[in-house]
Amino acid sequence: MTTHARPRAIAGGLLDRPMIWLLALFGIAEAVISYRFLAGIGSVSNMNDGYTWGIWEPVNVVVFTGIGAGAYSVGLLCYLLNRGKYHPLIRPAVLLAAIAYSLGGASIVVALGRPWNMYLLALPPLWNLSSVLLEVAVCVVAYVCVLWIELLPAVFDDAAGSASRVRSAWGKRWGGRLAKAMPYVIALAMLLPTMHQSSLGGLMIVAGPKLHPLWHTTLLPLLALVSCMSMGLGAVVVLTAVMKHTWSARHDNELLADMSKVNGLLLLLFVALRLGDIAFQGKLHLLAVPDFYLMVFVLELALFLFPAFLFLTRRVQQNRARVLGALLTVVGCSLWRIDAFLTCYNAGESWSYWPSLGEIAVTVGMAAFGVAVFIAVSKIFPVVEVGDPAAIRAGHEADLRSLRTRPATPPGTSNPSRPRSPR
């Protein structure tokens, strides 16, 4: 599959109808957030002293960053394990990660009760190094910076290819400089998620008796790390499928099949670790108690095992099963994360919780904004590869060529093999 494909900016206007919808959703979230800063978190949410993180932390931070882990897992494959063929997936994955992590960070600011004290986090002498959350916070902030730096080559490439000679020279010069530093940046991009994704899982160890024993284990950091890899690979497959449909982006079946096989093994590894741990800790008897928790547990297992089956079975290697599997992987890993932080967490008898409309509006609005930014950046900068033959036929060049060759086409003959237009 050698190819001369290069990432390029997606054609099309920025402010189309979907974009307006996405921004409208974000607008609602913004309104809720503004009100929250005036009247307190309790005024827009159902969070209480028992369910103090509501859905903002478990979903906006823990799930969003899990989805963003695609940059980490694809990066591991591509750079550390030297599978260069994954290279085309890197830029979209990094963009997805940069957005997801930035939104996670922004959500923390919204969720913090006293965010004006946040500047103190820049003062290491004040750090309580025992705090797992401190480590997550510092590490995530650093990683967000790393991710946006990882995207800079797209900006320089764009400049380098520009018609203006000054801009092009600027892009080439800085692009070259950055290229030299890049391995060290990428190495950071491999290290930081290893640290904070495992620490994210580690956050709930201290909750001890408040977390259901089927979820509470000292293995939480390792489970969170493995699940973020799965989730990230799944998210990248889903993203690729969506981009193929909407933008006719490059879509290498064989590559995605290989990646999904890796993911299948990761999913099995997760299940093996989890079940092994439960058995090792003598908690197997809990699996004989037919209650709500067992139901959730079985649902989670199914959402890990079924995609693994899809990924690893030769016969269901077609694209559709793979995308379904990837989607289920993301759902399954998200579910496990939400369960460990919220569903199967119980601070005591006196509390109950269901997210308020305001909380949901913020979560949905943040996600919508993320999608909007992804579209906008992909349309301005060369991030997505639309280089395989089918896409080229479908893309601009095809239009040009068909214009040029129109006289040769017998009048009245439409071209039935012409793929859908790229928008």
Binding site: L80, N117, V132, K210, L222, S350
Partner: protein, 313 residues
């Protein structure tokens, strides 16, 4: 391509390098109670449920009287009536229990607090003024609090409360009335002076040094062995607490609303599991070095092979 064994091995090595190590690294160790630690002893068998301590606490902390039924952002102390599964011999079908911060020996809330807003007196990142080391009182410093509410997740006793309806909210919890201390006095009253203990008319609530309170609890149990259930809650539970509890024979602390805690603290368990893999910072640095080397090598090779036409230097 089938996933090769090498790929798997490499993957396992890279992914696991920093997290599989916890087995090798040691735990941070148990925290022992401070010698001069102060706390309170609550004897449920003597409590008459008058709620005087609750009112005194409100007054001492300048909080409004709002007929509290549980701890809240305006209530740092509460007396609850707990229904018992089996009535006691004297026919009592319920028991009282006073709840407030336990001033844990190795508190989860302190372990998790990012900048040490919650900290043991004199052992934090910053002196709030007149802090004395050694009392073990868990204090709250609003100027270092980000309002992350991790303390609420962490506290096994579900003690810290948050001001949900405030634009500038605080964490609210008992600070053992440190501010009511009389510095001219010797001993425990020189470091704190809980209003709740001061007003108790029934001898159910006593303030003092933890060692003295433990001795008092043992004395009471020895004098009337049939009266008590034989356990001092807080002596070891969850790594130990500075608020200690006695309960009537036939009553379990679980019935009184306490969690079932192992003798070790969750702060220790969590910190060890989360930090041990770092091997005091060696692991991340080593990992980074290996990653940088591999990335540099692989990236160069990939760019050379895949994009010969690319004008990259």
């Amino acid at each position: 391509m089938l996933v090769s064994r090498r790929l798997l091995l490499q993957g396992a090595a890279v992914a696991g390098a920093s997290t599989v190590l916890p087995g090798k690294a040691q735990a941070r160790g148990k925290v022992e109670p401070l010698e001069e630690a102060v706390g309170m002893l609550y004897d449920s068998t003597h409590c008459v449920g008058c709620g005087g301590c609750v009112a005194a606490c409100k007054e001492a902390n300048g909080l409004p009287w709002d007929e509290p039924t549980d701890l809240s952002n305006t209530t740092r102390s509460i007396v609850k009536t707990r229904r018992l599964a089996v009535p006691l011999r004297n026919g009592e079908a319920s028991a009282f229990v006073k709840r407030q911060c336990m001033h844990c020996v190795d508190p989860s809330c302190v372990s998790v607090c990012m900048l040490g807003a919650l900290h043991k007196e004199g052992q934090g990142k910053r002196d709030m003024g007149g802090e004395r080391k050694g009392t073990g009182i868990v204090l709250y410093d609003e100027d270092l609090c980000l309002g992350c509410r991790y303390c609420q997740i962490a506290c096994a006793f579900a003690i810290p409360r948050f001001e949900w309806r405030e634009a500038f909210p605080h964490i609210v919890k008992c600070e053992l009335c440190r501010k009511r201390a009389d510095p001219t006095r010797e001993g425990a009253l020189g470091v704190a002076n809980p209003a709740c203990c001061q007003v108790c008319p029934a001898g159910a609530l006593v303030y003092g040094r933890r060692v003295d309170l433990l001795a008092e609890a043992r004395r009471r149990m020895a004098a009337e062995p049939a009266r008590y259930n034989g356990k001092i809650f807080g002596e070891k539970d969850g790594g130990g607490t500075q608020a200690l509890y006695l309960a009537a024979a036939g009553v379990t602390f679980k019935e009184l609303g306490f969690p079932d805690l192992p003798d070790g603290s969750y702060a220790n368990a969590s910190e060890s599991a989360s930090h041990a893999p770092y091997l005091n910072g060696v692991a991340p640095i080593a990992l980074y070095a290996v990653a940088a080397y591999l990335v540099r090598r692989n990236k160069k090779a990939q760019e050379g092979a895949e994009r010969p036409e690319e004008p990259r230097k």
